[in-house]
């Protein structure tokens, strides 16, 4: 995954806002990277670009050797579905849907048969210690449990890259620590993890930290591909 001199601007009313002012970043397969920055630094925009949810205003984003600005909506969706798993700050479990149905949803969108999807979702939840709560909806799960459901949902498609936006932001310390343990294990299995956070303690778990401020990379502690504006 590679970003080259990526800019992203938004038009809010008449005022153009620069979210990313030219970022270059390369993440290799198997890395565990934390993107660290205060709110408004452009780290969410960065995550949206890496996650194929958005396209850059200028520059190129290459995921699995594909330049995302050349892909149409369906191709981007297919890339997301196959290669990327998302974990959101507020868990974002689907409403009116049980834990196992949430985890099965990405598989169903891929066109996998319901029975098979259900089986794989249940297996993933069991691995993350939620085997007893497959049929619970989000109202009957604690924050930590909901986030584990969300992580299961991100992992169930067996993606190369897991993108997590403040995964511990809505959790208490111990649940947050448990969630970080899960990420470490995932990374140990060879999965690439990109974590976005403003919490330095959380960032310390990662093997590499990229500090971002005002739309620019400030510091890259692994010293790989430092950006220049």
């Amino acid at each position: 995954m590679q970003l080259t001199d990526v800019r992203r601007e938004y038009q809010t009313g008449d005022v153009p806002t620069v979210a990313l002012a030219g970022v270059s970043l390369k993440v290799q397969r198997g890395e565990f990277v934390a993107i660290v920055g205060p709110s408004g630094s452009g780290k969410s925009t960065l995550m949206n670009l890496i996650g194929c949810l958005d396209r850059p205003s200028a520059g190129t984003v290459t995921i699995s050797d594909k330049d995302i600005s050349t892909l149409d909506d369906n191709e981007l969706t297919a890339l997301r579905s196959r290669a990327i798993g998302f974990v959101f700050q507020q868990f974002q479990l689907l409403p009116l849907t049980s834990a196992v149905e949430n985890v099965a949803a990405p598989l169903l969108y891929q066109g996998i048969r319901p029975r098979e999807a259900h089986k794989r979702a249940a297996a993933m939840l069991t691995r993350l210690g939620l085997g007893e709560r497959l049929d619970f909806d989000r109202g009957r799960l604690s924050g930590g449990q909901q986030q584990r459901v969300a992580i299961s949902r991100a992992l169930v498609t067996n993606p190369d890259l897991v993108l997590a936006d403040e995964p511990t932001g809505a959790l208490d310390t111990s649940s947050g620590a448990a969630v970080m343990e899960v990420f470490k294990e995932m990374n140990a299995e060879g999965r690439t993890i990109v974590l976005i956070t403003h919490d330095l303690e959380v960032a310390a778990t990662a093997k590499r930290r990229v500090y971002i401020r005002d739309g620019l990379i400030e510091r890259d502690e692994a010293d790989a591909m430092v950006s220049t504006p």
Partner: protein, 388 residues
């Protein structure tokens, strides 16, 4: 995400917001139930009129006198000889009072020729109709319609009893089931000879019933009868006519025209109410897309294609409208069952009605669901996720 799962998801979504779903469906429910009930009333009424007409007997033409001297026995004899005429019967009518025990009522007294039973098809409930053998034509026998029997407080043992017709004793031989036709009057039947000897000495007739040889023969026979009567009565223009000719088929045509107009009216009401119902569904679906923007964003992020989001919202609109159609259909059928009891016609569930009601409500869901569903599908994932 296959259609069955999408369908189940829509159902649980609708079930989760019952009040809102019910209010959304209300337009379709009212529209469909009103149309189903009105259609059933129309069909029931038509069926009732048809069976009343059918009880009059097939292939008949009825000539009624419009003045006391409008028709006479010579006319009847001549008409019986006209080509295409199978049978005729004649009636003289007068008003009188019928007394039985302490009860007394006003009635139309109808003196009928012996052939009346074949043409008029009286539906005898108890006893028999008037005697037909020539030797018994002067007997003082009487047949009373169901309504008359009811008002005179007959019992089953009243057959064979005497009633007084304008003070003269007649023996009751039969009670009819339902021969009064329209209106609320009471008909009683006596032989024409008895009527002539007692009330109506003149050779004039009130009604000549004609049965044509076949259905095809009805129009030519009607034409010949009318020509003959115009000639023999020397009718120059329609105002002079002393008779009117009534043809059952023509009446049926008129009724069909009326019910046809009613049908167009019902279709119009159906169309308007379904459009209104559809707009209600569209409105709620647009609100729903807005409320669920973040959910749409999450679904896009975890791999839902635009087409899958479109299908989900379209399915919801169609399930809403079809469910509304189903509820409306049920209410409409219950109402028509009620009407059928009140109106005394047969209740039946018309498969065409069921098919059209459900088909059109589904169509409403598709037509009015497309725009909200497209709005949902076109949301950019990043905008949808950022939406608060």
């Amino acid at each position: 995400m296959n259609l069955w799962l999408t369908f189940r998801l829509s159902l649980s979504r609708i079930a989760a917001a019952k009040v809102r779903s019910a209010l959304t469906m209300l337009g379709v429910i009212i529209g469909v139930s009103a149309v189903v009930a009105l259609t059933a009333v129309g069909q029931g009424a038509e069926q009732g009129i048809d069976s009343s007409l059918a009880s009059l007997g097939a292939n008949q033409i009825i000539v009624s006198a419009t003045s006391p001297t409008g028709l006479d026995e010579n006319d009847a004899a001549a008409i019986a000889e006209i080509e295409g005429v199978l049978k005729t019967s004649t009636e003289v009518r007068t008003q009188g009072t019928i007394a039985y025990g302490s009860e007394s009522i006003n009635a139309s007294i109808i003196g009928v020729s012996p052939t009346y039973e074949d043409l008029g098809n009286p539906d005898v409930a108890i006893g028999s109709f008037l005697p037909t053998s020539p030797g018994l034509q002067n007997s003082r026998t009487i047949v009373i319609s169901a309504r008359g029997a009811d008002r005179l407080e007959f019992t089953t043992a009243s057959i064979g009893d005497e009633v007084r017709v304008n003070g003269l004793a007649f023996t009751v031989v039969g009670v009819l089931d339902d021969a009064d036709g329209f209106g609320s009057g009471v008909n009683v039947y006596i032989t024409q000879e008895a009527a002539r000897s007692l009330f109506s000495k003149s050779p004039y007739l009130s009604v000549i019933r004609i049965q044509a040889e076949s259905q095809e023969a009805v129009p030519p026979v009607e034409y010949r009868v009318e020509s003959f009567l115009r000639f023999s009565k020397n009718v120059q223009d329609d105002d002079d006519a002393t008779f009117s000719i009534f043809n059952q088929a023509a009446l049926q045509d008129t009724i069909r025209t009326v019910t046809g107009t009613l049908g167009i009216l019902i279709t119009g009401i159906a169309g308007i109410s379904l459009v209104v119902g559809g707009i209600g569904i569209m409105n709620i679906m647009l609100v729903s897309v807005r409320e669920r923007t973040r959910e749409i964003g999450v679904r896009r992020a975890i791999g839902a294609r635009q087409s899958q989001i479109l299908t989900q919202f379209l399915m919801e609109a169609v399930v809403l409208s079809t469910l509304g159609g189903l509820i409306g259909l049920t209410i409409g059928q219950l109402a028509s069952y009620g009407f059928s009891i009140l109106g005394g016609w047969e209740f039946f569930i018309d498969p065409t009605t069921v098919f059209l009601a459900l088909g059109f409500s589904a169509l409403v869901g598709i037509v009015f669901g497309v725009w909200p569903a497209r709005t949902a599908a076109k949301l950019q994932p990043v905008d949808a996720l950022r939406f608060e």
